[in-house]
Symmetry: C2
Subunit: 458 residues, 2 copies
């Protein structure tokens, strides 16, 4: 605890931090100087964490104005290193998902866009809780490296047209500081704080265009559509105010996306889509990849019509161009190409246990969060940041909402290292499936595109 | 910052502090175990300050239930030493004021009650901001000691029937911890937190009965009557739930109370009241002392009728019994009795500057906060905890709301050590007086007695 009654930072102009906190507490709008004092002061240890924590909780209750949110984002963005891409002669685009269960879209969309002529300098994170992370998934591939510097990253994009790397530790240190504090003070689920955190990383990443996939449903951070829409609008507003063309799709995460939940299993599914041999259980996943990529082409100005954009994307996928780009990307990032050519060489779990449901009817729901948490229990994800993960384990969802089921037809498969755990998870996995007699209502895949008025003519 | 994702305290049952914060953030009621984890965990350094700060800000927005407020109060109460009074053969009562400008009531009420047969083990604080503190005032008397242990304090009460001491440093350490954190995180002005802080000290003080003077107006912490009433009700509720008979008066602090604002000046005014030679400018102050003492006699069960209680109190004052008790108290606490027998021996300021207002009419307002802040500027109070004070300086208010003024009739007097500062303060002091042509509306002195239904038949 500070012994001084006031903490003063901000150069010549002395700010009284308690007064800054009080301003936000009482619903006021903080200036750039005040936000810098709190966030950079906190990062440097000049302002104690308890004052930053009090401000965060006040923001939770009072929100932030659009101007404050943009200001906070740019403060976070400029708090560390930034990626500067060399002139590439083609548009650059970054893609971000707010995270879901079985969300391996980046593994397909990034090489697919590169194959369509968009440079994609993509930085990803690790998984936490019931959602997975692209970096964890990629590390299923033996030798695959994700720790590249900003300069190496620019070089990879020049060479392959895309990269799939981890976030440089020098990027947005103020965001890391703030997130760690939010995590332990119950101030994570606050839309302006989420939006500024996401966008600070994307802005520091250096791409001209930003495509955002905001997930909604039990397997996402946002479980209600109005919240997801608000987040999407806030993200787009920040991007546009910061001078980047930004588009967000709000997409369904009420059931797991596609077949695989678990790291190597998800890589194998992405490869199956890229190699044009994916089964029916991957259909919804493949459609989402195409939708995201098509919107990205509009955003990047390579197409002006959504229908034409879909055709172009589908063609590049069917020709195998996306697959070839993925292969090059794996090779450029040190991965063993044999394991992607033949995914049976990826890590495999010892036990495979199929799950049936003793009912005849139609699947009405598959609880995405439930499936995600069971995958964590198998070892595919982390309950805590410091946990190790097992790349081989996970769950395959073979039947989705709307599919017919019969007592002897497996609806899922548990991949585990241990028979007892496999049996426990299998029993709980059955509970994630809701089966009814009639066919269920159609569940949309894309709920909304933000900005709503489709300026790209699609 | 903690590197662990969760802080766990509370013995065998592990509490996740972020979940406890979230519960309050979402409007839930915390259990005793959860409140202990936060407050005692914070005090012991087992829970980091930033988590306690986030909880405090959540309490600011969500409030606390009566049960939570009482639970927090008893946790604070039991966090340190407690005063245990020996059997005295008479009721014991503690009195507390939420603080105001010129509020020297304890100096009169405490010896007055002792002279009426109520034992008063009174602990007081120091002043901060525009309000003064009883301990500072008493230290104007040469030799007067306020640093007594709990045992010595009980001995003083046996000997004199009352004491006027500072708060023992071993008392309510958790309240000191929490207050210091509230002070730097903009979470001071929150009724359940104020109430639990006040009541924890009073409960640890050991008296059976508690009389509270909740001030309202520009010179008080609460400037609006509904807030003051809510605080009064919360204080009484805590006292009653903790098994102490508790009564609160909500009293006016829109103008300075009585004549003197400043330490030795206030002691001199209190002595004038006790010696029955106070002037008209002290009338309202004297009436309040009698009202408080009369209600205290009802509360302590020594009278059943408010009218009779007032008569008894007035008689003890007029007989000089209260003055004799005050004299004994000063002697018992090491003070130089000659200086109270002859208050002209108390510290005197070098400069005395009378203030006139170039208008004829009636005083409609005297801004209590303005006067309090000017007294601080003269050196009578502290802008920061670590500031030193000058016991001699201050302001005398010679005319109050409703009094007639003429251009040559002084309305106030500045007591300063320095001519320049005296002139500056004098100019600003004029601005604190609002003069109109007609007589102003009557300003009540006591707005409310809580509990409202006067169970004492007064």
């Amino acid at each position: 605890m500070a012994t001084e009654r006031e903490s003063a930072v901000g150069g010549c102009t002395m700010l009284r931090i308690p007064e800054v906190i009080q301003k936000k507490r009482d619903g006021g709008e903080l200036s750039q100087q005040e936000l810098e004092a709190l966030v950079l002061g906190g990062l440097r240890g000049e302002v104690p964490d308890y004052q930053v924590a009090a401000w965060l909780m006040a923001v939770y209750f009072r929100g932030m104005t659009p101007r404050e949110t943009v200001t906070l984002t740019t403060i976070l963005q400029h708090s560390g290193e930034q990626v500067h891409l060399p002139p590439l002669g083609k548009p650059t685009l970054d893609k971000h998902s707010t995270g879901g269960v079985g969300d391996k879209t980046s593994l397909v969309v990034v090489p697919l866009l590169a194959a369509c002529g968009v440079a994609v300098p993509k930085m990803s994170g690790r998984g936490l809780g019931f959602t997975g992370g692209t970096v964890d998934k990629l590390e299923s591939i033996p030798g695959f490296r994700t720790d590249f510097s900003a300069v190496e990253m620019a070089h990879l994009v020049q060479q392959v047209g895309a990269c799939l790397v981890g976030q440089s530790p020098e990027l947005v240190p103020a965001d890391k500081y703030l997130y760690a504090l939010r995590d332990v003070t119950a101030t994570v689920d606050c839309i302006p704080l989420i939006a500024s955190s996401v966008m600070s990383k994307k802005l520091a990443g250096g791409a001209e265009h930003l495509l955002l996939d905001v997930k909604v449903g039990s397997g996402a951070f946002m479980t209600h559509l109005p919240d997801a829409l608000e987040l999407a609008r806030t993200l787009v507003q920040i991007g546009e105010m910061a001078g980047r063309r930004t588009l967000a799709l709000v997409t369904d995460m009420s059931q797991p996306l596609g077949e695989a939940v678990g790291n190597a299993l998800e890589v194998a599914e992405a490869i199956a889509v890229l190699q044009r041999r994916a089964g029916a259980a991957s259909a919804r996943f493949e459609v989402l990849c195409i939708e995201l990529a098509a919107h990205a082409l509009l955003l990047a100005g390579l197409e002006t019509d959504l229908y034409q954009a879909r055709l172009r994307v589908r063609k590049r996928l069917e020709e195998g161009a996306a697959w070839q780009t993925f292969r090059q990307l794996v090779q450029a990032q040190g991965g063993d190409v044999r394991t992607v050519d033949d995914p049976s060489l990826l890590p495999q779990a010892r036990v495979r246990l199929p799950i049936c449901i003793p009912q005849t009817g139609y699947i009405h729901a598959v609880d995405a969060r439930g499936v995600g948490l069971l995958a964590v229990r198998l070892g595919a994800g982390r309950a805590r940041k410091e946990d190790a993960i097992d790349h081989a384990v996970g769950i395959r969802i073979l039947r989705h909402v709307g599919d017919h089921v019969e007592p002897d037809l497996p609806v899922a498969e548990v991949h585990a290292q241990d028979d007892t755990l496999a049996a426990e998870v299998a029993a709980e996995l059955q509970e994630c499936f809701l089966v009814g007699e009639g066919a269920p209502r159609f569940q949309p895949l894309v709920y909304a595109v933000v900005p709503e008025s489709n300026q790209f003519g699609g």
